[in-house]
């Protein structure tokens, strides 16, 4: 139990540092700037299954707010991450394996790579589309929102896949 908490804290610090220091310096390919690596939503996605829902939502808010400080976009990331923390419960229930979640940790090691990738792609996609909608704050920029979401989604998912294959955490 205690190990689970420390692992989650360590993971959060590590991913947040990568997000705000490395991934923020974006790769802009000339005029094509739709790829923004945004992977920190997996911090919230990988919190243990049995934790209190309200606590997870609060943690989502705090995480988003922290990222906002670095992106100069107070409220935008916080809103999107809070949303993810809220819908996580429904996604997990919907995706529950037939025998239920035996261990509480939601990792590829415990639940298998296919399950993990499906779960992550749903979370990252929802996070990104909510994020860019909030950022634009109107649906006038619908085309832009969709382009950004699609390209960022593909790139971010690849990064998450690489990360989880390299580290392959137990908890």
């Amino acid at each position: 139990m205690n190990k689970q908490v420390t692992r989650n804290i360590f993971r959060a610090v590590f991913i947040l540092a990568i997000q705000v220091i490395l991934l923020k310096r974006n790769l802009t390919l000339g005029e094509f700037n739709y790829v923004h690596l945004t992977v920190y939503s997996i911090i919230i996605a990988m919190l243990p299954y049995n934790w209190n829902r309200t606590l997870i939502i609060l943690l989502g808010f705090v995480t988003g707010l922290f990222v906002d400080l670095f992106y100069d976009s107070i409220g935008v990331h916080a809103g999107a991450t809070t949303f993810i923390a809220y819908v996580r419960y429904y996604i997990l229930n919907w995706m529950a394996p037939t025998e239920g979640y035996k261990k509480d940790s939601l990792t590829a090691y415990q639940l298998g790579v296919p399950w993990f990738l499906t779960y992550m792609s749903i979370i990252i996609f929802l996070h990104l589309i909510f994020l860019y909608s909030l950022e634009a704050f109107s649906f006038v920029y619908l085309k832009e929102i969709i382009l950004r979401t699609v390209f960022s989604f593909i790139a971010s998912l690849f990064l998450v896949m690489f990360g989880s294959l390299i580290f392959n955490p137990k908890y």
Binding site: T28, E31, L58, I74, G75, A78, Y86, A136
Partner: protein
Amino acid sequence: MRNLLYLIFRFSAFLAFLVLELICFHLIVNYNKSQGEIWAHSSNLFVGSINARSQKVEDFFELNQKNDSLLLENAKLLETILNFRMTSENNAFQEFEKTLQDSTLDYQLIPANVVSKTIHLRNNYLTLSKGKSDGLKVGMGVLGKNGVIGIIKSLSDNYATVLLILNSQSRTSVKILNKEYHGNLVWESSDPRLMNLKDVPRHANISKGDTIVTSGYSISYPANVHLGTIDAINYVKGSNSYDIDVKLDYDLSNISYAYVVTFQKKEEKETIVELQDE
């Protein structure tokens, strides 16, 4: 009462979600409106110092490149001065140089390092490594080696947040060189090299390729600072003005240092503008 408590407990997750989401909306909307939320910006001391540190590491690897570009810029300036001195009539330039030594200039530049920036979002900002303690003030203009960068939006003691021209809230007063028509430059595209020029009247005789420079009407920038050229002229139905696409001549994605413009006669100009408004 017990039922109410039970209800709150049962829906606590949803309530937390709702409340936090409302807070986020409030933050987003307020942040887009008001100018005074310094705590929210990267000029905030803690975030600023982390940004500055990570930039230092990056600077270390790009030091040579930066040096070369500074050297080039210096050579270019020296070249301009030398040629100007040779060609100016009646020693006008020499006269001007003499006055430089015994009087202070109207416009002075404070150099600063860029410690953090974004250019790919809808609202882009940049953080400079100088702040209040270096004499910077909110509203001062920021120039790069080739053109306009933005305006200082908020300050802490050692850092400043700059509202880039690549921001939906940015509005720059510009004119078309040699034609004296003036308009406002805004950013509506997602392309960091393309700006939109508004409020140029329909009767204006303009053509593709015309140069856009700052008007000097605002107190932030001096007049005639280079920005870009007209890329396309669009007609909006039922409107009295053009919608012009302006291509910036410089790349905002690779700036690593900037100059803050301080205007000595700022107060004087401000009072006269205020009088006009009354």
